[in-house]
Point group: C2
Amino acid sequence: MDIDRRSLLGASAALASASAAGAARIGTRPRIRRIATEEAFATPEQLDALRAITRSNWNNEDANFWRGILSNPDDERPAPLLDIGEGRLRDMDANGVDMQLLSLTSPGVQMFDADTGAAIATSSNDRLAAAIARHPDRFAGLAAIAPQDPKRAVKELERAIGGLKLNGIIINSHTNGEYLDQERYWPILEAAEAMNAAIYIHPRTLPETAIGPYRDYNLWTAMWGYAAETGLHGMRLLTSGVLDRFPKLKIVLGHMGEGIPYWVYRIDHMYAVTSRRLPVKLKMKPSEYLLRNFMITTSGMNHLPAFDYCMRVLGADNIMWAIDYPYQASAEAVTFMDAASISDGHRAKVYHGNAERVFHIAPA
Amino acid sequence: MDIDRRSLLGASAALASASAAGAARIGTRPRIRRIATEEAFATPEQLDALRAITRSNWNNEDANFWRGILSNPDDERPAPLLDIGEGRLRDMDANGVDMQLLSLTSPGVQMFDADTGAAIATSSNDRLAAAIARHPDRFAGLAAIAPQDPKRAVKELERAIGGLKLNGIIINSHTNGEYLDQERYWPILEAAEAMNAAIYIHPRTLPETAIGPYRDYNLWTAMWGYAAETGLHGMRLLTSGVLDRFPKLKIVLGHMGEGIPYWVYRIDHMYAVTSRRLPVKLKMKPSEYLLRNFMITTSGMNHLPAFDYCMRVLGADNIMWAIDYPYQASAEAVTFMDAASISDGHRAKVYHGNAERVFHIAPA
């Protein structure tokens, strides 16, 4: 999770020129709608509350991440995060991005006490709904909820989906070291299933009970630890039995599925071998839940071999395009997806069709 | 890590008949040498010492794993592990496996106190050398060392590689929660590099500082946690700078690279973005060390899409075939590798050429 304005990868020059060529082509071939599905924003209330945390002496890597951003007046990240209007639209226009599905930036409201978390979730959802009302063809959004108080989170979920017509839910992985499969959070899963609201599980730092050896060499970051944390959250949902209890629940994982698709063979194999020792028996193989209940996005993984792999094991109906704006460059994500060797029909699903279906976005 | 005698995957019947067909074909097309590179054995001394641990009240998942095996007189795993002779050769013959590269089963000697660990490593290496001497065309082996006492581990490494002519080193990931990149273990890396001995980093359970949320639903096992632990070990070596200090070191990771190959784009990208904040600067991109210093094996991952992906991002020179006998079925691993859509030249590299090069095994 870090802005990459200077396109630090070796292929950046080639990507940039390919992107320009792509933009030029838009006029001459059928224009495809591009809906980016993991796009971050912040609210002033959220940043104020994060600033209060950074003034504490809490030695937590999420806190340290925001300490780094908020203690430096020259840090370039807050401005684009706070902009859910003209500046953001300019970046979208420049890169041929039709719509961003917005979500409150990680760790959302999950580091705050329950009352603060609930209040900031509510104000975030109101601001988000207002931004969407101003640009309904350019923005959609995921509702923030504070799992710290599951009953109150359910009320906000129902207000945000039923009332504000937001498009799904964002949860930034663990809450105080707990995960959504734990019984205390089932009311949230139940409400999400009932409202047909997909839950996007976004990375945050590993909890204290798991971060030990990740503290060195920046391994707790998006370079490695975020996927360990979020992949584990996905695996807990996959193996805990909650997807038998809530069979219509939709879980979305970014970053090409947080590693789970790579392991699908071994997960099924080892589940079959060890399941006789488990207290909870699943009705299906883990891979069957992966196909039925999970969607993945391409956020931060502009890597054609990994995309091709996921097309092969999950198929075109289970993958959605994403940028991770403003932490990642829009141009690179567009160039990557334009360059994939897939049929026009599959590209349409990944670029917009699946997002329209899963997040209830009206077709253009 | 669990025996799969009953071939629990759905495709098992098809695999078995394909394997029989493969065996029949051996006479009619050029016979390819099959060297399996992650094959487990145990010694009586090791099992006695593990049995002593299982009688303690140490609530550790590695201890619990062995408690389950050793407390059950009907458990079918000890017998094939202890057999580094005729029984093992029969399985190899039945499946067309020419050679097994043997290694002391996880967690090797790493749960014992330093003296016990060193003594069992020595006796294991002596037994292994004797088994190889009896069947030099069928067995090769990796030396056990006890990192608990690095100086003594170096001496045993030099004896086992220089004297006994073993083919490399096995380390079962963390030792008391510490990793090989830590300065205390550099003498081991230095000696391995000097002796041109590859270090195979095999899974074991996550340490107490990282296992927290993996305790549920058996997630600490080979279904998920083993890869989290071993992938993290690989990433620590990749990002710590030790591969600039020991540039000729060879690290081997099983299970299709313990997830690292899937993330190679994001690792490079995020390393580039965040490296300015790191105290140690690497001389190259992480992916360049992955190609230069790492080998992966196919153990437990008889999955053609993942194999094809790794061929695309790492190439045929960096992948070696493995079964994980006796925890996994030889027939499935042979059938998988025979079925890969690759050239004969690439198949020869993966089946034996790379293993001959990396582990100094004489060509047939």
